[in-house]
Amino acid sequence: MDKLLEILHELRPELDYAHNDSLIDGGHLDSFDIVTLVGELNDAFDIEIGVEDLIPENFNSVAAMWSLIQRLREQV
């Protein structure tokens, strides 16, 4: 989880990730951020986030992203 937070803070340091569960729906992260983030997460966690995973529900909160990472790790 720390690694995920580190990546997110590097991407958009001004956001309060701990208390935000609408990162996409609230317009805080956009498609450019998501594409950058996916590359970072793939490298950091040795996973492969597919195009079909790029839905708001998977990126609206740190918990949702962590859940996605865990799910993809189990599939490896």
Partner: protein, 289 residues
Amino acid sequence: MCLERVVDLQHFSALVQQVKRQHPAVRSNCYLLPEAITRCAGQGRLYYERLESGSAFLCAEGSYYHLYYYVEGDRPFCYNPKDKPVIIETVYKAAERQANQSEPFSQWTANGFVLHKTSRQFMLNPLPAREQLAEQLAQAKARLHDAGFELATAGAAQLTEVQALWAGALDPFDFTYLSDEELRCELDQGRVSCVADACGSLCAVLLIIFERGASNCRHLVTGAAYRRSVGMGTALVLDWLVKAAAQGKSKCLAWIDQTNIPSLNLFAKLGFQATGRLSDQLLLAQKGV
């Protein structure tokens, strides 16, 4: 090599996975999310082409293709011109580009692509108080009215007039050029603000986009005869901000060609600040040109 059609999101996803298996160090400029992929594939305008170092996805945008690449490494490779011009867009943060790459496009410039333009993203966040915006808009509308113009919302009957204004001023390779059907939909939903003269003829227009939590404006155009006259651009942008605030949006964003000084000054005057994000557009002329 020829273009093949992407059928749907699953097809797109499978093609990307295949490229990544064959080329583990693949890089991409693709920021299409599933919603957009599904829409473009469903409209039959998303294609792909296998390259020696990856794959290219081309989205037909009227008079040109928008290319999204998945390629390995920086080395040049062979890329053939198409029946229409091809545009590549790369979005980046200014600091990253300066730190990481002195020649970021070598593999594309080796294929005949040239830098077409660079745009900068500007943002107003948070929006001013609604009362303040309403007062500023009232002043802008009064100035227009005194000069014989009115701020309004364009309707479907003005579709060709809106298109004519855009065609006369917009970059022909603008990424968000709308089809007739898409523009009609925007007009029906009241998302095209305009300034009209006493005869009802359109003099200036602006397209408003509402997204999740934010709003974007596109295609702000003032007819050549009215530039620097009575503040049409200011009135249209203020009208957009008022509408965005009414929709509960917390921020407004706009991409502006970095050589468009009047537009840069207009947005700066209204409090917009650069986000540090830039977009380079590279252009490859069509086959035989």
